[in-house]
Assembly symmetry: C2
Homo-oligomer: 185 residues x 2
Amino acid sequence: MGRTRPGDAGAKVLKAASALFYRDGIHAVGVDTVAAEAGVTKAALYGNFGSKSGLVVAYLRERDRRWQAEIDRITAAHAGPRERVLAVFDAYEAWLSADGYRGCAFLNATSEFPDPADPVREVVRHHKTALHGYLLAQLRRGEPQRAGVLADELMLLLEGAAVTSVVAQSAQPFHTAKRLARTLF
Amino acid sequence: MGRTRPGDAGAKVLKAASALFYRDGIHAVGVDTVAAEAGVTKAALYGNFGSKSGLVVAYLRERDRRWQAEIDRITAAHAGPRERVLAVFDAYEAWLSADGYRGCAFLNATSEFPDPADPVREVVRHHKTALHGYLLAQLRRGEPQRAGVLADELMLLLEGAAVTSVVAQSAQPFHTAKRLARTLF
DNA sequence: CAGCGAACAGACAGGTCTGTCTGATGTCAA
DNA sequence: TTGACATCAGACAGACCTGTCTGTTCGCTG
C-alpha cells in the first residue's frame, strides 16, 4: 500500500530496534519482531539496512550519537573540568537507571559478539575511545601531569559502576564510584 | 551402544558446554553442538540437565565452584589481608587473559539474560556476593572502619578492569586497577 | 499527468533451535 | 544370571531464524 511517506521506514525500524535490542538482547530479537513493532514490512527493513548485522551496527551508532549529544549538553552546562567529569557520572547513572538497570548497550553488545574483529565491536571501541578522550581532555585542563592515569582510573570506575549496578539492580555503585572519583581529584 | 560408563555423560557435557558457552556466548550455542562436542547424544544431555536452562545454570555453578577453589588457593598462599586482596586482582587478570579476553562469564551471562528473576541471574548474584564477601572479610582485618566502603570500591575496580580489558583486548586495565587499589589501602 | 521509487502484503526457502520419542545396546549391582 | 538403568543412534515435531521474491499500491517529482 505504501501508506507512509517514503524514508520514514528506516527511522521507525531504528527506533523499534533500539528499544527491543536494548531490552531483550540482540540475539534474542528477530527481524520479524522488529519489523512488526515498527509497523513496517521486513522488505522495508532489509531495504534500509541490508541485513540484521547492518541494523545492529546502525542501532549502536545511533545510541553513540545520542550519547555524544548528552556529552555536548554536559559541556554546555558546566564550565570546569571537575564539574564536567562528575556530570558524566551522573549522566551514566541516569541512562542506566532509566531502563531498569539493563546496563551499557555497548558492553552488552560486546558480550553478545565475541569476535573482536566484528563491525559491532569496532563501534563499541569507537564509543569507548570517545568517552575516554573526553575525560582526558577535561582532566588535562586541571592536572596535566596526572591526566592520563586519572582518565584510565575514572573509566574503570564508570564501567565498574555500570556492570555492578546491573548485577545489584541498584544505583548504589554509582554513588560509590562518584565518591571515589571526587577523592581522586 | 552405551560404550561409556554411566554417569560420565554429565561431566563430559558440562566440560564441553563450559568451553562453548564461554567462548561463543550462551544463546549462540545450540544443544546439538554441545552434545556433539561432548561426544554424547542429546538424550543423555537432557537426561542429565533437563533443559538448556538447567545446563546453563550448571555451567555457571561449576565455574563459580572453580573460582571458589581459586580463592581457597589464594587464602592458603597468602597470609596478610592486603596480599590476599591483591592476589584476587592477579587471579582475575590471569583468568581473563588466559582465554583471549572474553571477559567474566557471569557478566556475559548477565548481558544475555535480561530478566533479573531468571535462575541464571541468581547464580550471578551468588557469585558476586561471595567475591564481595571475601574482600570484605579480608579488609575488616586490616582497617575495620573503612572495610565496607573499601570493599565496594575494590569491586568497582575489579569489574571495571574486567569489562575494559575485553573492549581493549589488553591487560592494561588490570595494571591501572591494581595500582589504584594499592593506593587505596 | 506520467513515471519512478519506496513501502505494502505475504508467501517461500533453507536452516537452526529446543525438546521428545523409539528401540537397541552396553554396564553395573544384586 | 538377571534386571535396572544409562546411554546410543537417529528420526521427528513445531517453532523460530535470516533472507528473498512476487505483485500491488501509494506518494512524490518532474
